[in-house]
């Protein structure tokens, strides 16, 4: 029974992968509904000594799925016509869109036209605020970076302690330089 079930699952999975590949026309509202469930707007802030402010701001949009739905991630990638599908962790894969041009030209316009309706909508609004600051190159200045950290710490950031630490670091640098 175990083996039969496994074979059935493999056949099911292959059939769906083929179906998804054949029928690439995903409805845009489906994309927004699925994102309301599974998507993440995230802004990473990483130490980077080559930057003047000592930190790099890395905004990204991602959707993580079990590897059995990897074909779907490729379909969504095709829908947006940008991003990369890569390992997330263990048996999970992600579609990740990091290019600021693609975020500006594709991701933001999509979710403005086909709005999110869960509380994730507010993550998107904060994400847009940060992208706007990046577009104005504010992330390259201390004040702008602090503003970005403040906004991102109200988003889905799990590690709020880290955000506070970074902020203190930047403010600390200021004291040394003053």
């Amino acid at each position: 029974m175990g083996a039969t079930r496994r074979i059935n699952l493999i056949i099911d999975s292959q059939r769906l992968n083929t179906e998804v590949r054949k029928n690439m026309l995903i409805n845009p509202y489906w994309i927004s509904g699925f994102t309301d469930g599974e998507g993440t707007f995230y802004v990473g802030i990483n130490k980077n000594s080559t930057m003047n402010v000592g930190y790099q701001v890395l905004p990204e949009f991602r959707i993580v799925q079990h590897k059995k739905d990897i074909a779907l991630l490729h379909s969504i990638k095709k829908y947006f016509n940008c991003g990369v599908v890569r390992v997330n962790h263990d048996d999970r894969f992600e579609l990740r869109i990091r290019s600021i041009e693609h975020i500006n030209q594709i991701i933001i316009p999509h979710f403005e036209k086909y709005p999110l309706i869960t509380q994730k909508k507010f993550d998107f609004i904060k994400f847009k605020k940060i992208i706007n600051l990046i577009n104005q190159e504010k992330h390259l200045e201390k004040d702008g970076l602090i503003k970005i950290i403040d906004i991102s710490s109200q988003m889905n950031r799990k590690d709020k302690k880290k955000a506070l630490e970074i902020k203190n670091n930047i403010l600390g640098q200021d004291k040394v330089h003053a």
Copy 2:
């Protein structure tokens, strides 16, 4: 800062709840995309001594969300025009649709018209097979019930051991009666 953030979140949440309530026209593809992420097709099989076969079959469609998105569950309930919004566990709420009429007349037609495209599609196909057996009253007979248990154990059922136990119980009854 903590208090300010909490207040901001409450205001955000109230504003969104109002928006969602005002704008009840959720796009049907959004519903399917969100279900691909967050929905569950489940078939419970519970001991019930009033049934001839000793077990009751309880199919349901549900969407579970954190309480901050309870207004959205009410909007989806309004969209389908059926179901109940109730506590799931802790701070999570669910929209649950159990009525076999509503499943037949509303839930199945919706997902046939606006298809799921993740692997959850196969749960839906199996769910439909079980509903079809229930429509033919096969769940009231031993053979039909075993068929339902076999199909449901290939779905999202976590407790596969329980499914096997129930099956053995039913087959055991048979031996006693033979």
